[in-house]
Subunit: 276 residues, 6 copies
């Protein structure tokens, strides 16, 4: 269930007027087989998309593992057979997709593992700080890595931030959001424990604790417990959470930890294609 139109665009972005090297050097009817291999351990992702690229150009591509598998360095994750020109033309777009998506999946999985070691009930999620044009694929990769997707866009959840609160107060904001739609969750950004209690009491579904220390998060959780509102609200923490600090937040009592870095600072997994 991939966006085939967008994937085809990626192919033409990489060769608007064809692959001149292959056209000059490789006979049109020369066939070859190839393998895509990881160069480092990772959670693999992007195989479905990569396979489409080769297939669209007339080659046959078979994933040898499933998206989401944990694989070691040197693992073959896909085999390909077909016209050499097709294989070489799809190579770079395919590797770019696998590299980025596996990078996101692997980083998400690492964060989830750190969180679960402390609190198996807590979860990890990216934000809307995705690569322009790649929102759906970035989110998909995070889910493959064991994360939640968070809101996909401005259309699928209310998130009442300080800019909105400067216009209307928390209670009125929640009331208006509820009146607008009962089909979409309401999250309120809270700058203090008092805000969080106010939001929960107003009927928000989630509260976002942004840029708080783990200690401050714990205090806010306690305030919600004291007010008898803890069960009514999901607590999200965010704000430059890193691989180093994520465990501390996991122990603070929050339900979800959102990490912009999962998608805004991706380290691509190194994968390569070898002609076999």
């Amino acid at each position: 269930m991939i966006d085939t139109g967008k994937l085809i665009e990626f192919l033409y972005e990489d060769a608007p007027f064809g692959d001149i090297t292959s056209e000059a050097l490789i006979p049109a009817d020369l066939c070859t087989s190839a393998a895509i291999r990881t160069k480092e351990p990772c959670i693999i992702a992007g195989l479905e998309e990569a396979a489409f690229l080769f297939t669209h150009l007339g080659a046959v591509a078979d994933a040898t593992v499933e998206d989401g598998a944990r694989v070691g360095a040197g693992s073959v994750v896909m085999t390909i057979a077909g016209p050499a020109r097709a294989v070489l033309r799809a190579e770079r777009p395919a590797l770019n997709l696998i590299g980025r998506m596996s990078g996101i999946a692997t980083a998400t999985r690492a964060a989830v593992d750190r969180v679960h070691a402390v609190n198996p009930a807590a979860s990890v999620t990216p934000t809307r700080k995705t690569c322009p044009g790649l929102r759906a694929l970035d989110k998909k990769a995070a889910v493959i890595g064991g994360g939640e997707p968070h809101r996909f866009s401005l259309s699928d959840m209310f998130l009442i931030k300080d800019n909105h609160r400067a216009i209307v107060g928390i209670e009125e904001a929640v009331r208006r959001a509820k009146a607008f739609s009962c089909y979409h969750k309401i999250e309120v950004e809270a700058e203090s424990a008092e805000d969080a209690v106010l939001a929960a009491r107003a009927g928000a579904d989630l509260v976002l604790l942004d840029n708080m220390t783990p200690e401050k998060v714990s205090e806010t959780v306690s305030a919600l417990v004291a007010a008898g509102l803890r069960d009514r609200i999901v607590i999200e923490v965010s704000g430059r959470v890193t691989a180093e600090t994520v465990a501390a937040y996991a122990g603070s009592g929050a339900d979800v930890i959102s990490m912009g870095a999962l998608t805004h600072t991706v380290r691509n997994i190194d994968v390569g294609l070898d002609i076999t």
Copy 2:
């Protein structure tokens, strides 16, 4: 000279059915002013693209510095005025663009500075390991950071790699490429000094030394000098060059250092929008 169609797509990706929070909370005729501010020192990029997004939705956006400026933390780089709904709807796509492009420009500039400290004549360049769909913007950001663009796609340069050489030898490959087009440069990937000499003698314009140590690069340069071919060819080194190792390569005698990490492993610069 920005791709307006693609930028508009980024807006709709972030709100396929509108911004429900703003629609529920903010009157349509409420106007506001805002500023985009850096949260860390950087080479700023993406301002032209960001300004278009706000403008397209009916706000007025003015960059206060030019793309490529070196700015400190806390610098205002753009001021915006217009309908609050428009400002908030364009906010995230605009920040995602500025964040990524500034991240690439800043990393490129840092690498260029390290290289120039050793060899002012050498240059730095990204590869085709860009984000799918963002090739032009990733390349533009690297150029803003002082890098060269390298080839944009498979259509604008011959790059004869091992996969091609498995089919035809270096000399025949260069001959075929020359016969195909005298308007496009020919680069040959060399695995040894012998390969490099062979490529230069065959008339290649550039030689790519992939995954060699700086010492091995120096030896290859020496071999080209000894063969009287040094002036006829541009020497590119590549292969997981990092911020740490780039200076060593700069001193090896190479002309250009290509770094996939400049675009495949981007750390977004942290920028924020404040309503003023």
Copy 3:
């Protein structure tokens, strides 16, 4: 915040090779002024979109009322001035948009009024039975008419229907949905009061009572009250609710009444353009 690309497509759909009548009969530099007038009372909608069409072709269009206004028959809702060819070319696409969107807004408002007469706290909403390609505009029109938007697509809410329940039971289904995302609401289709209680207990946010009589809905509400779960869940009724039956459902204790007919069986409001 309109999808300009799609609106431009509507213009070219109506004249892929130009407007031959105007080209044959009307000088290119002849200017005119015109007015769009309703032919029946309605809640007007689509003015923002219509204005864009005229503007894109070089005319000036001014809405004289706002989207959502209740207007009588014969009301002028927009005045236009510009090249006669532009006015006539945008005429039909503009009227088609205003006609359909006003039809949806008017029908929604009528349903809302009937519902509020019985239960001012209940609301009305369309479904995903929209016109292919017009999802965002159909939903926007319903909101203009006082309705809620319901889920926009398969991406923004969980709706666990009988087809899903044939695979997993209600409790396990809700558990999996919660594990997938805490950012999206969960609705369960219930075929009986028992189902509804089960869903509420499992933690669903909404329950969908499909094709029940108003009496059966009341019994289900009572069952939820008896189980102490009424406050934890939003109750939606659906299933060929019509203008005639909607009041009965409004009195049944449900919170939201969804009506596919609001968008799948639209009666366009009659509007016309007169050259003035």
Copy 4:
């Protein structure tokens, strides 16, 4: 000969970020079979388009009747087999297409039947009051229902309306249209029998009698007969013709009756998909 690009857009409109319910609940490799069944008697249409949607997502879809067949309530019109996720993702867009197109085909057929009962030589046609973006499919559905397509767009026929006649008189308008193209028919909107005679004498191919009573139409026909021009011109009547009044117009001597309501006020046929 369907517009595959547009149909794919309909799929992504309904799930810009995937179908979260299915992804959370249904294993990727679970296959299923399903049937699309009518819930009321109708002339079925849209099967070719619906089949493409399922096929594009990897399922197999077989229409069990042909577009245009008259089917009763409860008829299976398509069987589908494939991955459950694919079946559920295409379900709503497919049903929306079948529902609307069958609605148009059925209403057209009903009008045609009423007309033919009075005058077997007369025909029925929709106008350009179609749903934006669906012109081709709306017209196709009307043809499936036994109607004529009328002009598809401003590009394929001259229609000289009062707005044009305010600029040039009928005779000069027809002369200019003929000079512009002899490949496209010329229709003149007539407000009186005199206009109709004038138009026919000037060489118009069709005359449009808008908003006349059936009696007034008969008088106009008589005037054309008296002038010896009846055979030279096709007579179209239009203007809020309804199911109730269409038979009266059929007996008035007109050749074609155009009904905007066929496409601007569609009642979707109720069709459902059941997992089998």
Copy 5:
């Protein structure tokens, strides 16, 4: 009333990754003025489209003559002012459009003039042998040159050719076409005078005499006159009519002469842009 989306595509086709020469050599803020000048006499066309290209990139463009004007060699047809980079980037796409469209307009005008010298009532028209993707612009250019547009596509006229007649005879074919739509003209390809008479009698609007000599055309006209059908049908001749032979056909009694060469074998008019 130009297709702006397509024109923007032409700009990006010519610079998918920017104009590297201008970016390397020309400061971003350098402004310039320029003029587009013909290098040979012609009927100018394409100015509206060209002006849009410059405008879209931020320059100001003013046509100094109107599309359709007859201009001599060395005439300035457009002046432009704005950023030098914008002017140079739009230059080639703009000149390609003006060159091709003026080429078509000029050739059409020449053919029309030759025809009118012999028969002022006859007209000239191109066919569907246009450049893929440029149908609307090719037809527009022919109309600017004084031609008729002929059918724009398969959707706007019936043309019953030998391939169709192999399936059904002329009379039945015309009958079916009439039954399908009374809004679209019917043309029948005739291979003999008998065919032409048969077609006219069956009610065809036009008859296409393909690959007949002028003498054979005259005979066919005479046969139609003899049968009393001449006034009921438009006679088109086609089939490799050239500038040399067009006058002979004009004298044969035909009403329209279609020339595929007008659009399938275009000689671009030479136009250039000079920085002033």
Copy 6:
């Protein structure tokens, strides 16, 4: 490796609302077979694109020769089998593509043959004067005909023309281009032998001698030889080179002869489709 999206657009350009003739006359399930045949000798091109069009509509198409083959008049170049409606709908777009691409290939081959008769080492190339929207196909056709592709767009080579030189001198321009990218060739337009020597000395890769007579070209070559720079630079001549004059330029010592006419003044090869 064809741009399938663009090819599909060509199909819909030719039938935005379907092929009314075939729909009226030909049963949907009637199958047929057909052959595409040349009507004059040519170098055939466009077969890959044409085959896709038929295939996309559900027919089977087999090229009986390869793109680039030299074929005589009356040669069958493709056979097709499938639904008659599909065959007739793809017919014209397919023939338009084959006609244009074969026209370009044939003209290029003729020019190459004339050049090689004089100087087997020289080559022929088109320019950027291609049909808007068809750049890639026009270039591909020229390559099929034995030409070089020249630069594809403003993104893949530096070409320093008089407009640039009015801003910076040759030496500085070459220096800036080199500093911008070592991956793209640099060509300098020279108006005199002195310019050419200056460009070669500055390090340009190619020099463009525009609108020089063959004698003047020879003098420039001599000047480069005298300066010891002949081997360092590729010499291109351009400027309304025609089939008549190309041989003279081939003997002048230039390396490449660019001919705008190859793509801006195409004579389509006449090809037809016959139902068999």
